[in-house]
């Protein structure tokens, strides 16, 4: 598959317009894939720039309770990697957003790296994040995905020393995912204050855009992070609202409104720096 990856295109456009990327996360199949499909389209309409789709896993080590529960709901509903790819394939005619899969390594490893890269790219996936696969162990996956213009994105933690930042940056394509706190995913009341310093350290090693995630839930936090980062990932807050509004007729609209307000927080940033 030739041509520009949608992730690169989107970050380039955002850079030109002086915007930051809003990157909502959804657990695919929570509580079913039809809901995920509808949500992706709603999120696109409400201003999301990239969407991260979590592949549910029985043992989500890097996730807090909100996404653990979402994964459990998705698995109970019979969600599998193959069905997620099928859903994305069916969605592509209507959705232009870059779509990323966030998966623990075992479901992808079991699927087969080569088969995964081929089928994910064919379905219209643009990138993959594997939180429990460090770049040192990722050579096979990188090779398989690169052949299909599928980006691999790696995570930098607050504890990563400069030497590792360099290695992670070298292995990443599309953007770098900076984990804004020590710990697992989940909404927090405050976020780390020294973000600016860390991002400068990372920028010294790479020209790739840097997206910040873990613990970011409110427009105020998004506004703060947008001052220094190229993208903001909001996961548990959206997943949590999805959980709370189960069965309510205005569910889609309420999640859409939250996403619109989060997107506004990134845009305002660039208008009033």
């Amino acid at each position: 598959m030739k041509g520009m990856n949608r992730i690169d295109t989107r970050f380039r456009q955002l850079k030109e317009s002086g915007e930051r990327a809003l990157m909502p996360y959804l657990t695919a199949g929570d509580p079913d894939l039809a809901t995920t499909r509808a949500l992706i389209l709603e999120l696109e309409r409400r201003g999301a720039d990239l969407i991260e789709l979590g592949v549910p896993f029985s043992d989500p080590l890097a996730d807090g309770v909100t996404i653990q529960r979402a994964s459990q709901r998705a698995l109970s509903g019979g969600t599998t990697l193959a069905r997620i790819l099928e859903m994305i394939k069916g969605l592509r005619a209507d959705c232009r957003l870059p779509l990323l899969l966030m998966s623990y390594v075992n479901p992808i490893f079991h699927f087969g790296y080569t088969r995964f890269a081929r089928e994910a790219a064919a379905a219209g996936v643009d990138g993959v994040i594997v939180p429990d696969l460090p770049p040192e162990e990722a050579a096979e996956l990188i090779e398989a995905t690169a052949a299909h213009n599928l980006h691999t994105i790696f995570l930098i933690a607050p504890t990563s020393p400069q030497s590792r930042i360099r290695a992670i940056a070298a292995a990443s394509k599309g953007f770098i995912y900076y984990v804004s706190l020590r710990g697992v995913t989940g909404a927090r009341s405050s976020i780390s204050g020294d973000l600016d310093t860390v991002l400068r350290m990372i920028r010294a090693e790479t020209d790739l855009p840097i997206a910040v995630g873990f613990g970011i839930s409110t427009p105020e936090q998004v506004r703060m992070v947008s001052r220094v980062a190229d993208g903001v990932i909001v996961g548990s807050a959206i997943v949590s609202l999805l959980e709370q509004t189960t069965g309510q007729t205005d569910q889609l609209q309420r999640i859409g409104e939250i996403v619109a307000s989060l997107k506004a927080a990134t845009v305002n940033q660039s208008i009033f720096p």
């Binding site: 896993f57 029985s58 043992d59 989500p60 080590l61 890097a62 807090g64 653990q68 698995l75 599998t80 990697l81 193959a82 390594v105 075992n106 479901p107 992808i108 490893f109 079991h110 699927f111 429990d132 696969l133 460090p134 933690a157 504890t159 990563s160 020393p161 590792r164 020590r182 710990g183 697992v184």
Partner: protein, 376 residues
Amino acid sequence: MAALAALETVYREAKADPAFEAEMQSYLRHYVGRPTPLYFARRLTEHLGGARIYLKREDLCHTGAHKINNTVGQVLLTRRMRKSRVIAETGAGQHGVATATVAALFGLACEVFMGTEDMRRQALNVVRMRLLGAKVTPVESGSRTLKDAINEAMRDWVTNVETTHYVLGSVLGAHPYPMIVRDFQSVIGREARVQIMEMEGRLPDYLVACVGGGSNSIGLFHTFLDEPAVRMIGVEAGGLGIETGRHAARFASGELGVLHGTMSYILQDDDGQIRPTHSVSAGLDYPSVGPEHSYYRDRGRIDFVSATDAEALEAFQLLSRLEGVIPALESAHAIAHTKQLAPTLRKDEIVVVNLSGRGDKDVEVVAKLLGCEVQG
């Protein structure tokens, strides 16, 4: 990753430091009670009518299982790293008790994660940990067993890594853990080697040990890996029988996969989701196995078999009656296989079985399974 790299550096420095080794030896001798005896099980040998059976008595370690060999080492590393808090996962509760014990000895804060299913079946060990001053945190997620306790301990570790060392209890998790735990446990085999040479003047023909994560088995086997005449057998939990799918025999029906930062054989479904496991013994109830075991299994160096719940229960009673030794349900799996193996061997052949822990913790569960009442 940074914490794992730091741990490896500290470990390698400690290993090269004679003062660390001396301190370790001192605690193993005076606190843990090493060396543990290698005991000739005369009546069991006569009963089975085949090979001479020796029991490596890890059940006589302080706290009642081999687990403390590793926790002493890791807590000494914790002090070297100047961390003030340790956390641990536990299945049967033995590793949790061992960690809580050594944490108490050195005045460190200690939190142990334990699945609620395991808390139910190993209630005595929960009380022991609390008496030792540890906080026992119930884990409600997933299958509520060892695997879920590890998930939760890892989540805590990444959150509190600055102050906290994760005392992993088996040869699992990302490097350097399988190496560190193996090294600390290999004292079992080193002692057994000296002891069997003293008692029999030659190396054993067979080594038998149960395999959950794999720490007691690799502890016994490691020193003998270069001795081609010594055959090694790991006994996995056959649960209700391999054919029922309700077991924890990774080598019987597992496939290569990645769990908890390690590539090894894993019980998983067609979509790479981790499958629920079953064993009467909480310490063997885990869907993956130490990566070194997988390596030696693929090379044909270590053989793996399984024993069912029922076979383990029978062996539990047999050893109690014949030798006056109540084994842990985990170790009873090794005895169960020995029961089958020994009669097929000549009388001059030697089998060393790792009796990895004592069975006091299991008395309540066994009583229920045997249908007798525990009088309060």
